[in-house]
C-alpha cells in the first residue's frame, strides 16, 4: 500500500479520534491512578530506530528504553514496552493502547495541539547523509532540486516538506532510505543524527553525514490529552533522574566516547556484505516468533472467514431481499475500503464505544471480516456455476431449498472453489502483515525491526520472503490433496 494512503488514513483516523475522544474522556479514570493501581506503565515505541530504541535478541534496547525503564521505576511501576509502527503510534496513544509514547518524538507545535508532552529529555537535530564523495550538499538549502529520503511521519519529513523545491521520498524505516541512497536512487537522507551515524557505522560505510544538525529539536514523552496527571508525575521522575546523575550515566552508555569507540571498533572488525550469512545464523530464531504470530493470525482468520463468507454467499444467492441486500452492502463496503483502514478502525475507534479489544483479537477480527467478504464472492461464484438443473433435480425429488443447498449444491461448490480459496488464503497470509500498524510484531514487522537493527535490509528481507513461502506451503498441500481426492468425480 502506498505511503500516501497509509499516512492519510492514519491522519484522518487520528482526526476522527480527537473529535470523539473529547466527548468520551470525561468519565474515564485517571491514567496515573491506573498506572499506580496496576503497577504497569505501558509505553509505546517504534523499535526500529537504533541506538535510541530497537530490538536486540528479542529484547527492547536503546537509550530511550533505559530512560523509560528508569522513569517507570521512579513511578513505582514496571515498564511494559509495546512495539508499534510509527504511522499508527499516535492514534494508539489516543485510544489508550498505551499510557505514553517514548519513540524519539520531537516536540512540535502541531503535535502539541493534539497531545501532551513531558519536558524535553534529549536534544536532537536533523542531519544530512550522502554518498561519500558527494559535492555540494552540506546544508539543507542545498537540498533544493534534490531527491531526499526520510522516515514516515518524522520531523525530517515535516521539515523537508515545508521547503519548496525539495523532492521528498518517504520510507517506512530509515534503513530502507539509507539503502536507496546507497543504490543512488536518492541524493540524500535526512534523519536524527545518532540514528544516521549508527546506520552508517553498521553497514552503510559508503555513506557519510555532512555539515551540522540544521534543526534544533527536543524529544519529549507523549501522552494523551487526558493524561495530564501522568505527565506531571513523569516530569518529576525525569528531574529526579537528572539530579541523581542517572540520566548522565544512561547518556554516557549510549552516546559517550567509550560507547562510540567500542561501536567503531566492533564495526571495523566486521566487513559489510550484501548478504550476511553470519547474520542469518544469528537471527533466524528471532524470526520464528514472527512466523508463529503470522501463522496464528492467518490460520484463525481463514478458519473464521470461511464460515462467515459461506453465510454471506448463501444470503446473497437466495431470493429474499431482506437477507441479500445487507450481505451485498457488506461485501461492497469491505471490498471497497482498504484493509489498513479496517484494522485501524477496529483497534482505534471501537474503544471509543467502550469496546476494548487486544491488538491480536483486533487483528484477527479485521482480517476475518475482510477475508469473509472476498471468500463470500468466491463461494457465490462457485454456487452460481453449478447448473440450475441440480437444484431442480433436488427439489423435484422433494428436498427443501435448504436440504438441496446443503446436500447437493454446496458439496459440488466446495470442489470447485478450492483453487480460488487457496489464492485467498495465501493473499490473507501476506495481507496479515498490515496488522503491524497496531503493534503486532508478525513476520514482516519482525523483518522491519531486524533490518533496521542490523542495517541489513538485503539480508533480512529475503529471509522474510522465504518464511512466507514456507508458510504458504501447508495451504497449497491441503489444496493439492483435496483436488487429488476429488479427481474421479470431476473427471468426465
Amino acid at each position: 500500500m502506498s505511503e500516501l494512503v497509509r499516512s492519510t488514513a492514519a491522519a484522518l483516523l487520528l482526526l476522527a479520534l480527537l473529535q470523539i475522544s473529547a466527548l468520551a474522556q470525561s468519565a474515564a479514570p485517571s491514567t496515573l491512578q491506573r498506572v499506580r493501581q496496576t503497577g504497569v506503565l505501558r509505553i509505546g515505541t517504534d523499535a526500529t530506530y537504533p541506538p535510541l530504541e530497537y530490538v536486540e535478541n528479542g529484547q527492547f534496547a536503546g537509550f530511550e528504553i533505559d530512560l523509560a525503564t528508569a522513569i517507570a521505576r521512579e513511578l513505582g511501576a514496571r515498564p511494559e514496552f509495546i512495539n508499534a509502527s510509527f504511522d499508527g503510534i499516535f492514534p494508539a496513544l489516543q485510544n489508550g493502547s498505551f499510557d505514553a509514547v517514548i519513540s524519539s518524538v520531537t516536540i512540535t507545535p502541531e503535535r502539541s495541539a493534539q497531545m501532551l508532552f513531558s519536558d524535553p529529555y534529549y536534544d536532537s537535530g536533523q542531519l544530512i547523509a550522502v554518498r561519500q564523495g558527494t559535492q555540494g550538499i552540506e546544508r539543507p538549502e542545498q537540498l533544493v532540486g534534490k531527491r531526499v529520503g526520510v522516515q514516515i511521519n518524522t520531523t525530517a519529513q515535516i521539515d523537508l516538506e515545508k521547503r519548496t523545491g525539495v523532492s521528498v521520498a518517504v520510507y517506512n524505516t530509515i534503513d530502507l532510505a539509507m539503502l536507496d541512497l546507497k543504490n543512488g536512487r536518492i541524493d540524500a537522507v535526512v534523519g536524527d543524527a545518532p540514528v544516521l551515524r549508527f546506520m552508517i557505522r553498521q553497514s552503510f560505510r559508503e555513506l557519510q553525514t555532512v555539515g551540522r544538525r540544521f534543526t534544533d529539536e527536543k524529544f519529549g514523552i507523549a501522552f494523551a490529552q487526558s493524561s495530564d496527571d501522568l505527565r506531571r508525575a513523569v516530569n518529576a521522575a525525569l528531574w529526579r533522574i537528572q539530579d541523581s546523575g542517572e540520566y548522565d550515566r544512561i547518556h554516557e552508555k549510549w552516546f559517550g566516547e567509550v560507547a562510540e569507540r567500542t561501536a567503531d571498533q566492533a564495526a571495523s572488525s566486521t566487513r559489510t556484505k550484501v548478504f550476511d550469512t553470519e547474520l542469518v545464523r544469528k537471527t533466524w530464531q528471532l524470526f520464528l516468533k514472527g512466523v508463529w504470530l503470522t501463522a496464528k493470525l492467518a490460520f484463525l482468520s481463514l478458519l473464521l472467514g470461511l464460515p462467515i463468507g459461506l453465510m454471506l454467499s448463501l444470503a446473497r444467492v437466495q431470493s429474499s431481499r431482506l437477507l441479500a441486500a445487507p450481505a451485498a452492502v457488506y461485501v461492497e463496503v469491505i471490498r471497497g475500503t482498504p484493509l489498513l483502514v479496517q484494522i485501524l478502525f477496529i483497534y482505534f475507534v471501537l474503544p471509543l464505544f467502550g469496546i476494548h479489544l487486544p491488538a491480536f483479537t483486533s487483528g484477527v477480527i479485521a482480517l476475518t471480516l475482510n477475508s469473509a467478504a472476498y471468500i463470500s464472492e468466491i463461494f457465490r461464484a462457485g454456487i452460481l456455476s453449478i447448473d440450475v438443473g441440480q437444484m431442480e433435480a433436488a427439489r423435484a425429488l422433494g428436498m427443501t431449498y435448504a436440504q438441496a443447498m446443503r446436500r447437493i449444491i454446496l458439496p459440488q461448490t466446495f470442489r470447485r472453489v478450492v483453487p480460488p480459496l487457496t489464492n485467498e488464503g495465501i493473499a490473507l497470509l501476506k495481507d496479515s502483515s498490515l496488522v503491524s500498524v497496531i503493534g503486532l510484531t508478525e513476520l514482516a514487522r519482525t523483518g522491519q525491526e531486524l533490518a533496521s537493527r542490523y542495517a541489513a535490509p538485503l539480508t533480512i528481507w529475503p529471509i522474510v520472503a522465504l518464511f512466507y513461502l514456507l508458510l504458504t506451503f501447508p495451504l497449497t498441500r491441503v489444496a493439492e490433496y483435496l483436488e487429488r481426492r476429488w479427481r474421479p468425480i470431476t473427471r468426465s
Binding site: M399, I408, P411
Partner: protein, 283 residues
Amino acid sequence: MIEVTDIVKRYGSNTVLNHATFQIEEGQLTTILGPSGCGKSTMLRCMNRLERFDRGRLVIGGVEVLGTEDRKLSAAEEKELTRRLRERVGIVFQNFNLFPHLTALGNAIEAPMTVKGLSRQQAVEVARHYLHKVGLSEKEDHYPAQLSGGQQQRVAIARALAMEPDVILFDEPTSALDPQLIKEVGRMLRALDDLGKTLVVVSHDMNFARSISDQVIYFEGGHAVEAGTAAEVFGNPQKPETRAFMQSFQEEESDGDRASAAESESEKLDADKGTRATLGQEE
C-alpha cells in the same frame, strides 16, 4: 387419474399453455407428443410444480393444484402442496441432472434419506432394488462421469423410482441419447409401465411415441389437440394439426429410412420381450 383442466400459463405476453385440457389413465404409459415449442415440456414441469400455472386445475396423484390467479397460497401452504405433490410425482430430466459428486447408489439414496427420513441401511436396500431393476447393480459405486449416457439415464430412473412415486414424468427421454440407445429406453419404459406406475413421457419423436405408448396426446399451440390410444391417434388422426404433424414426420423419415415405420412396430414387440427378460431376472 391425472386431470388437466383448462390450464393457462403466460410468460409476460407469451401464452405458453392455452387452456390445456386432458386426462391420463392411471397405470398407463402416455406420451405427450408435439413439435418443439408447443408447450409440452412446460406442461410436464407444471405437473410437478417446477413451474406454476396462472389458471386452471390440475389433479395428480390425488393432489389438487389450482392456478395462481385462482387461488393465492401462503408460503407455508405452497411448501406443503409442493411437498405432497413431489412425494407422488417423480421426474427424469432430459439431461438427467444426476448429482455428479455422488455415486449411482448415492444418487438413489440421497432423497429417500433426506426427504423420507429413511435410515441409510433402508435407503440402500430400496436403491439397490431399483438399480437392479434398471440393470445397473454392477455400477452402483460409479460416479456419473464414469457412466455412459444410457447408464446415466438409468441411474436417473432408479433415483426417481427410489422415492416410490405413483407417477413418473419423462422429459424428452430420447433426445440426449445415441439412436441405438433409443430402443433400450423404450424397453426400459415398458418395464416400468408393467410395475404399475403411471408414466407420462414428453417427446417430439413420433416413432418412439408410437413404439412405446398406450395413450397419446397430441399437443400443439399450448393445448391438447387430440387424445386417444396409440392405435387411434396414429392409425386414424382426426384433427388436421395432427395429420399435418404426422405427415411432416413421415416425409422427414422417408428421406432417410423408408422402412422405419414398419421397424418401429417390430421395436415395440422387441421392447415387450425385453421387458419380460428384465423382469424375469427379478422374479
